[in-house]
């Protein structure tokens, strides 16, 4: 491998976990997520010479999102950016959130609940809470106002908590 390849791996591989998390919750299953990660890294490698941004992580995640969106993968979930405010339905009153119970809830249950969220809410949560980006970074990646990102993440978490409580109350 040449110097360019080694330099790329040194810069990009520390972010593999984050890129995989984003890919995993943008596609239907882990096989497609792994394909998407590999393609992301190959695209990034091809453009590595022109990468001048301050954050390699944000750059990789943006490539991953663009690939997932533009390729129209047959089995991928659609990643939709409408820029329109989403209708907000308050959660049913009377459902109280048991923080301790939700903190220990099964990872698979969280994954299922996450998959039930509207695309734009799940995307905001994945980019902020799983990938560790700030609201400003996510706003730049998605090309939408920062307040929209915060609102989507907030509404998504409200819905997620409600879904997890429902899951936890199942017999």
């Amino acid at each position: 491998m040449d110097d360019q390849g080694r330099a790329f791996l040194e810069a990009a591989m520390p972010h593999l976990d984050v890129v995989y998390r984003v890919a995993r919750h943008t596609t239907r299953d882990h096989h497609h997520a792994e394909d998407l990660v590999q393609e992301t890294y190959l695209r990034a490698f091809a453009a590595f010479g022109t990468h001048r941004g301050p954050s390699t992580k944000a750059w990789l995640v943006t490539i991953c999102l663009n690939l997932a969106r533009s390729q129209g993968r047959r089995r991928a979930r659609r990643v939709v950016e409408t820029g329109m405010p989403e209708p907000y339905e308050p959660e049913a009153p009377g459902v109280s959130v048991a923080e301790e119970a939700l903190a220990n809830i099964d990872r698979a249950a969280v994954s299922r609940a996450l998959a039930q969220l509207p695309d734009e809410q799940r995307q905001a949560i994945v980019l902020m809470d799983l990938a560790g980006h700030s609201a400003s970074e996510v706003a730049e990646m998605l090309g939408c106002p920062r307040n929209t990102v915060l609102s989507r993440a907030f509404r998504g978490r409200q819905r997620l908590a409600s879904l997890l409580v429902e899951e936890d109350m199942k017999p």
Partner: protein
């Protein structure tokens, strides 16, 4: 919500000034709706923390191999000739011991890189396409179906989507890769005459390779097997893939 959502969001983001925050704290004592929203947000964040899991063990090796092959194609110099291919991959993969899964990934990379390098050691005038190198690497001794590169799955290598399948015909194992796009043709291959397709054959040690690229669309095919090269077209026809 009855109360302005923006205030709750700003409170949760820690963006209220001290006076506003003090007032919102007071508000929370009397507003059940806002208190429930704050608790739900925190609970969801707690639950999401456990979703920060690492990538699967084999993925690092798979991505590293793909980049190594793409890098080799870009520089157009055979890995073996440069003399840095497998060792540099190994060095890279093992240089970060704080990632335990690299033990498995590193051994995978060694096997994969050894397979690819072995192929390139043969007398070939130029680097071969990474798509073909990856499929051939799967046929190399000890590297056949692994957790990171298994037959029967879809791969994207150097930007080309491949489906790779393993077949057993008359006691011979072969790997067949199909793609909606034509495969790149190795520089040292022998072209075969054909009116509706571009076909070529090549050898690497005990392995024979045969490729058929459909003109004007349709599935293209690349076949690797440990069998006489002359039998490859007949074998490919029996697979009934294209």
């Amino acid at each position: 919500m009855t109360c302005p959502e923006e205030r709750v969001i700003a409170f949760l983001a820690g963006e209220l000034d001290p006076e506003e925050e003090r007032r919102f704290d007071q508000h929370l004592l009397g507003c059940e709706e806002c208190w429930r929203a704050v608790k739900a947000d925190r609970a969801a964040r707690l639950a999401l923390e456990q979703m920060r899991q690492p990538a699967p063990a084999g993925l690092e090796g798979r991505v590293a191999l793909a980049i190594a092959l793409a890098s080799q194609e870009a520089s157009n110099s055979p890995v073996a000739r440069a003399g840095t291919g497998a060792p540099s991959l190994l060095r890279w993969a093992t240089a970060r011991p704080h990632r335990p899964r690299l033990v498995a990934a590193a051994s995978l990379v060694v096997v994969m890189a050894a397979g690819a390098a072995g192929w390139l050691v043969a007398d070939r005038p130029a680097a071969d396409p990474p798509q073909l190198a990856a499929v051939v690497a799967m046929m190399a001794p000890g590297s056949a179906p692994t957790s990171a590169l298994r037959a029967g799955e879809h791969f994207v290598i150097a930007g080309q989507a491949l489906m790779v399948r393993a077949y057993q015909l008359e006691g011979t194992e072969e790997l067949v890769a199909t793609s909606a796009h034509p495969f790149p043709v190795p520089s040292s291959s022998r072209m075969l005459p054909g009116s509706s397709s571009q076909a070529w054959m090549a050898t690497k040690g005990r392995l024979s390779m045969y490729g058929v690229n459909r003109r004007g669309g349709g599935q293209s095919m690349f076949l690797v097997a440990a069998m006489p090269m002359a039998e490859m077209p007949q074998m490919a026809a029996r697979l009934d893939l294209i």
